[in-house]
């Protein structure tokens, strides 16, 4: 049976609700003077970085969020437009370029580009510097010091029966396939189906030991003690380790790959001048240092290093030693055929 109150309320809502968006849209348009639309992870920037930029230039920054790079790529690919600036992982850049989704940053427009460390200039994934490195990190193993007596030293440890049901792997083609390749001694340049059969076999063999394939929620499980050994991205773990000091990070002895998140201008960006200004601002030493201190990833900005927290700067897990730095490589830039082989192999592992 109906109550007069809720029915009336319902009708009132029925009349008012459709009007609300129009009102709100009107409000939103009014503030639309000068703005840059920035598409990035949540909390992947310093707390004062953007307000400071707005204060200095009068340009507002609208910060939209994604939870996962694949999701973001899917959305952009489907045609979502209007973003000016996005953060893209290095391995996605060839895809973005081949699908014509980003615009090149014209050479010579950024006066702070020289602040970058030489090894981040003209990287293999983007030799023409159409994008700008933002933060970088490594892939390694996170473990719980209290629960695991002998710290892991090798990727092989993620295949160890005694850690059954305590392991999590990143749910990511690039990282899982390249670890398997490292263990099997297969070069990333391969396109031999036999190699990919071996890779698949190795990863499927590991599956009964793995509790979770995850690129985000495993951090929660790690703090909760649900898993004790996890393949992880460096900065994610350092942020998480603030909550649980028992967590530590190692780069396995086989070595690992480094990856770089980059700033890219979207095709058809409407606020190009202000976007370039924002990128240049993010390249300023003190700004870059502020971001690095807050998100705990390494900054490619050499000029910023004096202002990076000393504890962070001296931490070899964040900024690896010179010897290790020499060994660290960027992922091979896959052509479309290889990329197909990689993702097919990974898809088969997931279904197996």
């Amino acid at each position: 049976m109906t109550e007069p109150l809720s029915r009336r309320g319902f009708l009132k809502a029925a009349i008012l609700a459709p009007l609300m968006p129009a009102l709100l849209a009107a409000c939103r348009r009014a503030e639309d003077a000068r703005v840059v639309n920035f598409f990035n992870w949540s909390n992947y920037i310093g707390k004062d970085t953007l307000p400071e930029f707005t204060k200095r230039t009068g340009v507002a920054v609208r910060y939209d969020l994604f939870a996962d790079e694949d999701e973001m790529f899917t959305k952009i690919r489907a045609g979502a437009r209007g973003y000016d600036l996005i953060v893209v992982g290095d391995y996605l850049i060839p895809r973005f370029r081949s699908l014509n989704l980003i615009e090149a940053i014209p050479a010579g427009t950024l006066k702070n580009l020289a602040n970058l460390a030489p090894r981040f200039r003209r990287p293999i994934y983007d030799p023409e510097e159409t994008t700008v490195p933002y933060l970088w990190g490594t892939t390694g193993i996170a473990y719980n010091k209290k629960k695991i007596k002998n710290p892991p030293t090798s990727w092989r440890d993620l295949w160890d029966e005694k850690y059954k049901d305590r392991i999590s792997m990143l749910d990511n083609v690039r990282d899982c396939i390249s670890v398997a390749m490292q263990l099997l001694g297969i070069p990333q340049t391969t396109r031999d189906p036999e190699d990919f059969r071996k890779i698949r076999e190795l990863l499927v063999k590991q599956k009964p030991l793995v509790k979770q394939y995850s690129s985000a929620s495993y951090l929660n499980s790690l703090v909760a003690g649900e898993i004790d050994l996890a393949m992880t991205w460096s900065g994610d773990l350092f942020q998480t380790a603030r909550e649980n000091p028992d967590l530590d990070y190692v780069i396995p002895k086989e070595g690992t790959y480094m990856w770089v998140d980059c700033l890219a201008i979207m095709r058809g960006a409407r606020h190009r001048a202000d976007t370039l200004r924002l990128i240049d601002y993010l390249l300023e030493p003190s700004v870059a240092a502020g971001i690095a201190n807050s998100v705990r990833y390494a900054t490619p900005n050499l000029a910023a290093s004096p202002e990076v927290d000393k504890a962070l700067r001296d931490d070899p897990r964040v900024y690896p030693t010179r010897a290790l730095m020499k060994q660290l490589q960027l992922h091979h830039v896959l052509d479309s055929e290889q990329s197909e082989l990689w993702s097919q192999t990974w898809a088969d592992v997931k279904v197996a």
Partner: protein, 257 residues
């Protein structure tokens, strides 16, 4: 039976209770208890982004629920009360298709279409997409109700007494269908409020809903601020429900007891 239902409500509210307790937890991730604090509530009231995400979600869910309720009521009425028309069965199936589409496929499909059609993504597009997802829920609730009513033939009785179809609808059918419309709207509100996938794809620039905000925090930790917000929302809802239940004067109450 009352005990059983209390237990079931307990099951539904257990995570909320945990959430509530952990909103006072002095740690960034709600996993381990580290001591009592009120700082998350304080942070919440200063977090303009989070508050605006909440408002966006509430507004979105309300709009979608209302649109879906109207569409669902009209469609169900035609399906149940009218003489069977051609392709009614097919239409019936079509009404359920939004439910069958995997969310990612639907999100990608709608986004691609809207972009190709040259429509700039905005709140309206998002609200309309949500209304589509909600439609099967309202239709399911309202249709089941209209069928039961059909069998009791109250409307026919009204018309035998000289009421026109319109009068019978306003005086008999609509009031009797209202509980179903409201429960359908409630379902819709819920579906829309916690939808992440479709929202993520169809949301235009500057539109951040609660689930989008929460999922994007997954990597760096969903802070107890979110718990605090959920607790506040819960309290506000309970207050409204309580007031409604306590003060509403109900003509049907007398007949019931």
């Amino acid at each position: 039976m009352a005990v059983y239902c209390a237990a079931l409500f307990g099951f539904l509210y257990l995570p909320l209770g945990v959430m509530c307790v952990f909103s006072f937890n002095d740690a960034r991730r709600n996993v381990v208890w580290r001591g009592f604090t009120l700082k998350w509530y304080k942070a919440l009231f200063h977090d303009a982004e989070l508050m605006s995400a909440m408002l966006t979600s509430l507004e979105l869910a309300a709009t979608a629920a209302v649109i879906a309720a109207i569409l669902g009521m009209l469609a169900s009425y035609a399906m149940v009360k009218h003489k069977p028309f051609r392709a009614r069965g097919a239409y019936d199936a079509l009404l359920n298709v939004p439910l069958m589409m995997p969310e990612v496929a639907l999100g990608v499909g709608i986004l691609t279409f809207l972009v190709r059609a040259g429509y700039e993504l905005d709140f309206t597009a998002l609200a309309c997409s949500h209304a589509l997802i909600c439609l099967p829920y309202t239709v399911a609730a309202v249709r089941a109700r209209l069928i039961s009513l059909q069998e009791s033939s109250l409307e026919d009785a009204a018309m035998d007494l000289g009421a026109t179809e319109w009068q019978a609808f306003v005086k008999v059918t609509l009031p009797l269908a209202m509980p179903a419309i409201i429960s359908g709207a409630l379902l819709s509100f819920t579906v829309s409020f916690q939808d992440f996938v479709t929202s993520f794809f169809v949301a235009g620039i500057g539109i951040v809903t609660m689930p989008i905000k929460i999922y994007s925090m997954m990597k760096f930790g969903v802070t107890p601020e979110i718990n605090a917000l959920s607790v506040c929302l819960l309290l506000a809802t309970f207050l409204l429900i309580g007031l409604n239940a306590a003060f509403a004067v109900r003509p049907d109450e007398a007949s019931r007891h």
